[in-house]
């Protein structure tokens, strides 16, 4: 009886789920398909197919430079954010710390402030400390953006850590620093790895902070934004497709790694 009643909603929901998947994937699929169009303008139907746009993108110096620049910024900000985020998380779980909640709220602040406002406040901030716009400012901005996510991920893992691991190390004569590097850090490993990949994607994806903090050297999103505003061409589609495939592969890999770590 019950199953008969719940069958109709079940079918509807299943259909809805797949319709939603279609909604998510269709625009991206169309965008990728368009990158193979053998014409100078973006329009359906596609008609003739070609790989020329990819050849063109791969020779586009501007694109390759933007890729390298984005990767460099992502690497630097990820490294900084992971270090700081872990450090903050260690402070939050430490014994005898007063104002734990305040520290945690502070650590999460950049994740709650809308991106645009965060970008503007950082732009003002770097000007008050006489820091020029450019690479260092972008890295700083991306680091601020990424720290809350690392803190949350590290905290989740730290809370599941058996206390006696560190106690045992301390009993055996390791001081706090040694215990951290030899016991806590290895235990945090998988969570931090997932967090780092997330930071990389966050940084490569970021537009608004880079827009306000950047100099004249475009990162990938800036380049794509400038190209889209400058007029449509399947070349942008090819560019976006390459970026999409690479970031999706990285994301999938990270998902795989963290999932394996979780089930272990």
């Amino acid at each position: 009886m019950r199953n008969m009643v719940s069958d109709a909603p079940r079918t509807t929901l299943t259909a809805f789920y797949w319709a939603f998947i279609l909604y998510l994937l269709l625009p991206l699929t169309l965008m990728m398909a368009m990158s193979f169009k053998d014409a100078n303008f973006v329009a359906f139907p596609i008609g003739d197919w070609t790989l020329d746009w990819y050849a063109k993108v791969m020779q586009d110096k501007q694109f390759l430079e933007a890729c390298l620049y984005s990767i460099m910024i992502a690497a630097a900000s990820t490294l900084a954010a992971t270090t700081l985020g872990t450090w903050i998380a260690m402070l939050i779980v430490a014994d005898g710390i007063r104002g734990r909640t305040i520290i945690f709220a502070l650590a999460c602040l950049p994740a709650v402030v809308p991106g645009m406002i965060s970008a503007i406040s950082l732009r003002i901030f770097i000007s008050t400390i006489d820091m020029p716009t450019g690479t260092a400012a972008i890295i700083l901005g991306h680091t601020v953006h990424a720290v809350p996510f690392v803190v949350v991920m590290a905290l989740t893992r730290l809370r599941s850590m058996p206390r006696n691991l560190v106690d045992a190390a301390r009993d055996l004569g390791a001081d706090g620093v040694v215990a951290f590097f030899r016991v806590t850090l290895p235990y945090l490993g998988p969570a931090l790895f997932g967090g780092m990949i997330f930071c990389v994607l966050l940084s490569i994806d970021d537009f608004v902070r880079t827009f306000f903090l950047g100099g004249y050297r475009p990162t990938l999103p800036m380049l794509i934004f400038a190209k889209v505003q400058g007029g449509m061409s399947p070349e942008i589609n090819a560019m976006a497709t390459i970026v999409l495939v690479v970031t999706a592969a990285v994301g999938l890999y990270a998902e795989f790694i963290t999932r394996r770590a979780r089930t272990r």
């Binding site: 009643v5 329009a43 650590a107 809308p114 406002i117 503007i120 901030f125 055996l172 449509m232």
Partner: protein
């Protein structure tokens, strides 16, 4: 003792019960430099506190509060950046400008309406999906069903926005399809309107709604639903009396997250919106490009937006989250 060493992954420590290491870190730890600096610091209580709290607190105060504080400070100045010969003084004028000119507060109201509408639309669209994955898909299939939903989100904000253009442009997929099957003669202008902007926003942010909803719904014990069904509650009653109240946490955090993200979206309105959909972030951005002496006004406006957005999110949390669930 041996056991705990193994757990710690310390192969070298197994042979010793006193600190005598032989590997990489060990050489550092045993060196004189370490013993007299870090090593000594860790030994003393004050040193330990500084080591643990120093860098994190400096970072949090400098870079998590610092920028907002500087923004507040500058929003109360008449001139910034400093110009030779112009004296800067304390003023509330930058805030007053906002209320004087409809040119400024109309975009803020528009931003709020859009963000609210997009949040509501996202909730309605994503809720059934989250419910489906959390309750109807079998546990072993759940991670696959979720993964499929996550795939588009590894594409960046700009790429996703750009892909919406492919769908909605005058010669985009929808218009071409409709013309092929003979429903329309000329393309429906969808791009650069409120519709394309709303569509793009929902497309951009639905993940932020999905994850909180999913984790809230997943936690609802299946027995509650079975019990309600046994007592004669139909699907609608079960949804209204059990699932909805018990997933309230997810709804509140999902909606707040989506709302705050929507308010701060900058690139999407510029690419998908038209002249009628100038949002507040774009207005603010104008003060920072070109005439640089308008920085204080921009800072004031950014703060107005931040405060109103947080208040709106707070009111929402209070309204929805404040009531205690009536189901149990």
């Amino acid at each position: 003792m041996v056991n705990s060493n193994t757990i710690a992954g310390d192969a070298a420590g197994r042979s010793a019960s006193i600190p005598k290491y032989s590997t990489g870190i060990a050489r550092i730890v045993n060196s004189a430099i370490y013993r007299h600096t870090l090593g000594a610091a860790v030994e003393s209580p004050i040193g330990r506190v500084i080591l643990l709290a120093g860098v994190p607190l400096i970072w949090l105060v400098m870079l998590h509060i610092g920028p907002i504080y500087q923004m507040l400070k500058i929003s109360l100045l008449s001139h910034y950046p400093a110009q030779p010969g112009v004296e800067s003084h304390f003023t509330f004028d930058n805030y007053a400008i906002f209320f004087r000119e409809s040119l400024y507060f109309t975009p803020l109201i528009k931003s709020f309406i859009f963000a609210t509408a997009a949040t509501a639309a996202t909730l309605v669209v994503v809720y059934p999906v989250a419910y489906y994955v959390a309750k109807i898909v079998k546990p072993e299939g759940r991670s696959k069903a979720l993964l499929l939903l996550l795939v588009p989100f590894w594409a960046g904000e700009l790429i996703r926005t750009f892909s919406v253009i492919m769908l909605l442009a005058n010669r985009g997929a929808v218009n071409v399809l409709l013309r092929e099957i003979g429903l329309i003669d000329r393309p429906i202008p969808m791009l650069y309107t409120s519709f394309s902007l709303g569509f793009g926003l929902v497309y951009l942010i639905c993940l932020y709604m999905l994850l909180p909803l999913y984790s809230a719904i997943e936690k609802i014990p299946g027995q509650y639903l079975d019990a309600a069904a046994d007592l004669g509650a139909g699907p609608f009653t079960r949804f209204r009396r059990i699932i909805l109240p018990l997933s309230k946490d997810g709804i509140v955090s999902g909606c707040s997250l989506v709302f705050l993200t929507c308010i701060g979206v900058f690139a999407t309105p510029m690419l998908l919106g038209g002249p009628n959909t100038v949002m507040f972030p774009e207005t603010i951005s104008g003060f920072f490009h070109g005439a640089s002496d308008k920085w204080p006004v921009g800072a004031a406006f950014a703060l107005i937006m931040l405060v109103t957005a947080l208040i709106a999110a707070g009111i929402f949390m209070r309204l929805v989250g404040g009531k205690k669930g009536s189901a149990i």
